[in-house]
């Protein structure tokens, strides 16, 4: 797990200055979002694929709040993604076709579920925690698959209608609206998350990740923070799920399968946990690779995903982004020593 130690200079700063430093946007962050938006204008770009990348990035970022900042591994994060996706699907099916309010509603339901999950697991750790989250995922998946009257079972929900966004932009087959809708919603939620993790609350999460006992002696509500972190992560995962439903107008049981929980964990680990951007970088690598590999060999592409995973945890144990960052830091440090 990467440790976000404050820079030595920051220690002497006042608390206010410290948080102000964290909040400042760096140039590469602006470049990253501009590049993502710029993808729209690249000819030949598959916009549906790009909106899928963005949605997965948002989903992985929500897991990052739990795993990267609070240090809780969850093998059942698809529960919240799937909840959001199905709630948005039900809204679209039963006449609530306005997408933005439905998105908020899906987030609220997922958040409530997340809070309950957090309450449930806040005292469990290690393998027990992995088993409980995995078990919850399996329970919900089994439930959705079996309640064919309610959820359509294996076939998923039929007849989802989504109205144009803001009554102006229709969801078309070229994925133009889907792309902008996914990007704007993800960006807004990203900013909210960025503010959150750079706030005292975010710092408390990191503190509890590094040393929960010490945080308790400092008087921090460590257990309460677990359910709050779960709630926030679940809300954002639910938003990602709702986005997927609304941009594709379909929802089926795979949205909350264990496979999906494993995939999102893989994405986050590939990108690197504890950085907010790790999820997005991981999603770009994973989804594009998945798209490419499954087009050249539909049967064997999981071999390469598995190999990628093994290589990442063997050689880039912290994920791509932190490894690159460490490389860059070494490069910058070495430079002044070089004879000039």
């Amino acid at each position: 797990m990467s440790v976000m130690e404050p820079a030595p200079a920051a220690v002497s700063q006042s608390g206010h200055d410290y948080f102000a430093t964290l909040a400042r946007w760096k140039i590469w962050e602006i470049l990253f979002w501009a590049a993502l938006a710029g993808c729209y204008f690249v000819p030949e770009m598959d916009r549906m694929l790009m909106s899928r990348v963005i949605i997965w990035g948002l989903f992985a970022m929500s897991l990052d709040i739990l795993l990267g900042y609070r240090g809780i591994p969850s093998l059942g994060h698809a529960v919240f993604f799937g909840t959001g996706a199905y709630v948005a699907g039900f809204c679209g099916k039963y006449g609530w076709s306005e997408p933005i309010s439905a998105l908020f509603f899906a987030m609220a339901v997922a958040a409530a579920l997340g809070w309950l999950t957090g309450k449930l697991v806040q005292r469990v750790a290690g393998v027990g925690l992995l088993m409980v989250t995995l078990g919850l995922n399996l329970i919900l998946f089994d439930f959705v698959l079996r309640s064919t009257d309610l959820t359509g079972g294996d076939d998923g929900l039929q007849g989802i209608v989504i109205a144009p966004v803001l009554n102006m932009f229709r969801f078309d087959i070229y994925g133009r609206t889907a792309f902008w809708y996914a990007l704007v919603v993800s960006f807004i939620l990203f900013i909210a998350t960025r503010i959150l993790v750079n706030s005292p609350f975010g710092l408390a999460l990191i503190g509890a990740r590094e040393n929960p006992r010490r945080m308790i002696t400092l008087g921090a509500p460590v257990e309460g923070d677990v359910s709050r972190a779960f709630m926030i992560a679940a809300a954002i995962a639910g938003a990602a799920g709702a986005l997927l439903t609304q941009t594709t107008q379909t929802v089926a049981p795979p949205t909350l399968s264990f496979q999906r929980s494993a995939d999102v964990l893989v994405i986050l680990i590939i990108g690197g946990a504890g950085r907010l951007y790790g999820g997005f970088i991981g999603a770009i690598v994973f989804i594009l690779l998945q798209d490419y590999l499954s087009s050249i060999s539909p049967v064997y592409w999981y071999f390469w995903i598995g190999l990628l995973l093994v290589v990442i945890v063997s050689f880039f144990r912290k994920g791509l982004l932190p490894s690159l960052d460490a490389l860059l830091q070494r490069f910058i440090k070495r430079k002044p020593d070089a004879p000039s």
């Binding site: 093998l75 469990v124 409980v132 089994d142 893989v266 071999f303 598995g306 190999l307 144990r317």
Partner: protein, 287 residues
């Protein structure tokens, strides 16, 4: 009445299968704290070795079983020496990701070598059919499974409690550093335990292939069951694993027989409730 007993018996047979598949993971988890999800892949490999030996080379069933045990044991110790031993000091999550990556790779490799469809088994004639015991009509193969599993369980518990090697293994589970300081070669003991655990997993896969069906998705289907057995039983205890495996086997078969509309729902619910009640499992000790 008779039907309940038959279903119970089938549950016990299934439970023994789960026990043989997961006992190795329980012991190695207790010893090295290494979460090895690839245990399910070892089981699958055992199943495929059985298919190849029986269908392509025409070897008799009972000759195949020791071959499976030795081959899968050898493969697992090779994997342990080459890959796993570098990951003993990492956290749970890294180990989960590493081994699930290996599971993905094993699925693709099984598809490559043996094809994606279910395998066909021609079991020997003496093991097919049914037998009347105490007025119950039981399948011969399940009777064989129960006998085999019971012998395995007794042998393992006895071996661990009464032999010198078992004492060494127990010492390593209790406290690896002190065991090493007392002059035990913990690495060697661990590799040996790992080989036996892997071999047993392979044996479990081979025995279950006929009953549960064998295709490349086998590891993903039974991984969850293996994990439930290990975490409910408590890591590092053979007795706990046995109790958990039998309970799970009976509950699963009973649930699917009497409440088919719920499927595995009840099992998962009970597991989650149990893990919240006792996070370290039935007989496990606090970390």
């Amino acid at each position: 009445m008779a039907s309940i007993l038959t279903v119970l018996f089938n549950g016990v047979a299934y439970g023994f299968l789960l026990f043989v598949m997961s006992v190795g993971l329980s012991v190695t988890l207790g010893m090295m704290n290494f979460v090895n999800l690839a245990q399910a892949s070892f089981s699958m490999l055992g199943g495929y070795i059985l298919v190849t030996a029986m269908q392509s080379h025409g070897l008799p069933f009972l000759v195949c079983l020791p071959i499976v045990f030795v081959l899968v044991g050898a493969v697992s110790v090779i994997v342990e020496r080459l890959i796993f031993r570098h990951f003993y000091k990492t956290d749970d999550l890294t180990q989960v990701l590493l081994t699930i990556g290996l599971v993905f790779m094993s699925i693709a490799m099984a598809t490559y070598f043996w094809g994606g469809s279910y395998q066909r088994f021609d079991m020997p004639s003496w093991i097919i059919g049914q037998k009347e015991i105490f007025g119950l009509t039981l399948e011969t193969y399940r009777i064989f499974l129960v006998g085999f599993g019971a012998v395995m369980a007794v042998a393992l518990i006895f071996g661990l409690e009464r032999t010198q090697l078992g004492a060494m293994v127990r010492a390593c589970v209790d406290n690896r550093r002190v065991a090493g300081a007392c002059g035990l070669n913990t690495e060697l003991i661990f590799a040996f335990t790992f080989a036996i655990g892997g071999g047993l997993a392979g044996l479990g896969g081979a025995l279950s292939a006929n009953l549960l069906g064998l295709d490349p998705n086998f590891p993903l289907r039974y991984l969850v069951y293996i994990l439930i057995v290990v975490s409910v039983g408590g890591m590092g205890t053979i007795t706990g694993t046995l109790i958990a495996a039998l309970t799970l086997g009976i509950a699963d078969v009973l649930g699917k027989y009497y409440f088919p509309q719920f499927g595995s729902f009840i099992i998962y619910l009970l597991t989650v409730a149990f893990m919240l009640w006792r996070p370290h499992g039935l007989l496990g000790r606090g970390a």
